[in-house]
Symmetry: C2
């Protein structure tokens, strides 16, 4: 975009842009674990030099930070959208569907988020954002209990964890090129969470 | 126990037996990731020399193998016990309750199992054992569908994954010294999985 030099706006070697570096970084973190992945692993997988890598990102930590922002930002946006619905029922439905959509659309980034151990400030800050998200969702569940939409004999926190246990398990087996339709999956998870596996009489 | 020498039968330094080495090893693997944990990390945490560590175990891999056997052995035993029940309903109930019991009783080992990435032969073999377990449980779900106990419009494999998504999420938040009773937790997960969160009319 800089007409004076004619250089492309993306930095670094041709064939790799910043998005590639982040995508490959997240892939490696998910394969080996973040702590076990070195900058040398990143350059080897990308087939670039260290200095080419540093054209795109400042550090391994920055790749982690960007990926976690994509995961958490998606979940937070879905929650904001859900909170805009007029009834507790619609809000609960919207957050389940929205979270499943974010998981299937940003699978590698959410996988990374769910496997965090909290071994650095970036990880601890991400876990804290995730806790705030869970806390707000627990509020939605509690509200649904107060309106008689969800059984009141369950602890709202445990219920939230069980719903998100189902949702989050999707990262373990869902594949974008697999046979399961992500829209249907959202509806199935919602049905199982709300109505259970047994046929209703 | 050997009267001739007076040495205790457990090997290595006093204050650490083999069970301690395995317990601390699993703890470190869960904190840092298996790949990122070195033998030096193990000896530092235990406060023993490398040679003292090798009194107890042959290798880092052996600690992993023993822990995965405890997790998978527990789940397989629970499945065998469940298969002995006379009805599909009782079999499904028994495997959900049994799996929750194994998770809460062998939390660190199951946590390790669930975070495996398949980066070594030991990990691949454990993942294959886990797949066989899942396959047999999917058969139980399919059987329950055939008897009208579980909705037939859900794919049995997806239903099994969602149930175990709930069960396995327990490793993320259950703490043995926390307020949640493990027996009640099994019943709650079973209730949510089978009857859902909505009150039945």
């Amino acid at each position: 975009m800089t007409a004076t030099t004619g250089r492309p706006s993306r930095r670094g070697r041709p064939g790799h842009d910043r998005a590639d570096v982040i995508r490959v970084g997240v892939q490696l973190f998910n394969e080996q674990g973040y702590d076990a992945t070195s900058v040398a692993d990143l350059t080897a997988r990308l087939g670039v030099t260290k200095s080419a890598l540093y054209h795109h990102v400042d550090s391994k930590e920055q790749i982690l930070q960007i990926a976690l922002n994509e995961a958490l930002g998606g979940l937070e946006d879905a929650l904001q959208a859900a909170l805009g619905h007029p009834t507790a029922d619609a809000r609960l439905t919207a957050i389940v569907d929205g979270a499943v959509r974010v998981l299937t659309e940003r699978l590698p980034q959410v996988t990374l988020l769910l496997r965090l151990r909290g071994n650095s400030d970036i990880e601890l800050a991400a876990l804290e954002r995730r806790r705030r998200f869970d806390h707000t969702v627990t509020g939605l569940v509690r509200e649904a209990q107060a309106e008689g939409l969800v059984r009141a004999d369950l602890d709202a926190g445990v219920a939230t964890r069980l719903i998100f246990g189902m949702i989050n398990s999707v990262v373990e087996w869902y594949r974008p090129d697999g046979p399961v339709d992500p829209e249907l999956l959202g509806a199935e998870i919602r049905t199982v969470a709300l109505d259970g596996l047994r046929p209703r009489a």
